[in-house]
Subunit: 295 residues, 2 copies
């Protein structure tokens, strides 16, 4: 495992209706990132297709695939060819009638290091994920890859401090969040800026609370599947363990790079040692849905 | 309990070596806040004295007091006179050799509604709190006061998402963080800005993750007890449930006011319903100090 720096790349991309086109673009951009020195490359959530959860229709389950399947096999070829770790988000068909939003970690030799099934599933207008994805049963996972010890979480997970904390307690140095978040056209003008701000703030806070790097990879582009469509806001970024945004995309397609300096992680945790003072004897109320009445 | 708005006031103040002066100033500013319509007033951490934890000396325990004691009695008089709830941070002497950093919630009739003993105790150069304060044994508490359902946490607690989450699960609508945080003169130039940014980000994230208001009340002023002293950075602020900073102080003494609109809290949680999707079946790893090896 690398001792000092881990160079990561985040592929911010837009998707068309063609799965083949999307997959070809993802492969090409991943190769480009590897040529530029990236050791770990993360693609956006469900990059093989447009964000189909904008509507509920049973035919859409045809997009789901097994693991291994076409998407992971294509990316495994790139991983082995370029000697890099790749985080691959897949609409997983586990068995008929049981599907997941799954993140597959592919090792530099092309093997599957493991998978994480999205634990927190949203369900809001134009984001009908509970229809498509069963809640993950993997728990929160980290992966000690050949390029670094990482955690792989997905989109809605980013709003939950519990997930990031568990990832850090399991030793992750970098938390990746492949994402598909965008503006509803009716909301963008009034709420757009504050939505992006909240989205960045909560993820930067995970970096701060846990002394880890956080890498968020959003899709971009406008997708009109139903109604007025969704404008995916891009703005992928990397936060250092102090919550500083080290690099950030605009709304266009781009590849973001960052050298994650593990000496900085050590230094940050040494100066503000939050992990030292946790009150693990007093956190069990967190395991409740709600606590209806203070005694 | 108020249904719609709760008007709060945060007294950002500096302290001298005189406990009597500090207490008189706190009473005067609290009265002023009440005259301006505040229903709940929060004072900074340990406002009766300068921040004595800059050094370790056994004589300093003379500053500690019982509860009820001089500080809470003085503030209870103001609470009853003005019909307001006051959050009063006290260096508590529980018994010889056992002291706490304690937050007392005083009801509008002058009675003590309850107390919270700071759970997370820091210990860093010039912040030698583990010498003075035993870790709290109250757990994380909320208080259903006559002016609103609030949680009272203290300073270092603000770095711990677990504390804020438990407060929200217990029904708190506003989380108060009386604080004493400042710049070490050697660090201010290089790290000062990013320290304030991290401090704000982590607290705004608690507002976002939990859909609550967060009110942070820092002291201000320069205190030179030993060495080069500490410059308390002020910057008290109120965040709405979406993480937006609604009002913020500079470094000077001031009283910050905010009308906390509980309809906004309802609206925020309805649009991004994070509490709905928590995976309470999968959070128990949080109760570990660390998880040494992924199986």
């Amino acid at each position: 495992m690398t001792d000092k720096n881990i160079k990561i790349a985040l592929v911010q991309m837009s998707m068309t209706e063609s799965v083949n086109e999307n997959l070809a673009k993802a492969c090409a951009k991943t190769r480009e990132a590897a040529k530029n020195g990236a050791q770990i490359v993360c693609l956006p959530e469900l990059f093989a297709s447009q964000y189909f959860c904008q509507q509920q229709h049973p035919d859409i389950f045809d997009l789901a695939e097994s693991i291994p399947g076409p998407t992971t096999t294509a990316m495994a070829t790139v991983a082995k060819e370029m000697n890099i770790v790749i985080l691959v988000s897949v609409f997983e068909k586990r068995t008929p009638g049981l599907h997941h939003n799954t993140l597959v970690v592919i090792e530099a030799d092309g093997t599957i290091a493991g998978l994480y099934r999205k634990m927190h599933i949203p369900d809001d207008p134009l984001f009908f994920e509970k229809y498509y994805f069963a809640p993950g049963d993997t728990g929160f996972k980290t992966f000690e890859t050949s390029k670094g010890h990482i955690a792989a979480l997905v989109c809605w997970d980013q709003w939950y401090p519990e997930a990031a904390r568990i990832a850090a307690l399991k030793g992750a140095k970098i938390i990746f969040y492949p994402t598909a978040i965008g503006w509803h056209p009716d909301e963008k003008e009034e709420y757009g800026e504050r939505q992006v701000s909240a989205w960045m703030t909560i993820q930067r806070s995970h970096a701060i609370a846990n002394g880890v790097f956080v890498a968020a990879v959003n899709r971009c582009g406008f997708e009109k599947i139903v109604g007025k469509g969704l404008e995916f806001w891009g703005h992928s970024f990397v936060s250092d363990p102090f919550g500083r945004v080290m690099t950030q995309a605009e709304q266009d397609e781009t590849i973001l790079y960052h050298d994650c300096d593990l000496a900085l992680l050590e230094d940050t945790r040494r100066n503000w040692p939050f992990l030292r003072d946790r009150r693990i004897d007093a956190y069990d109320p967190i395991l409740n849905r709600y606590i209806d009445k203070e005694e």
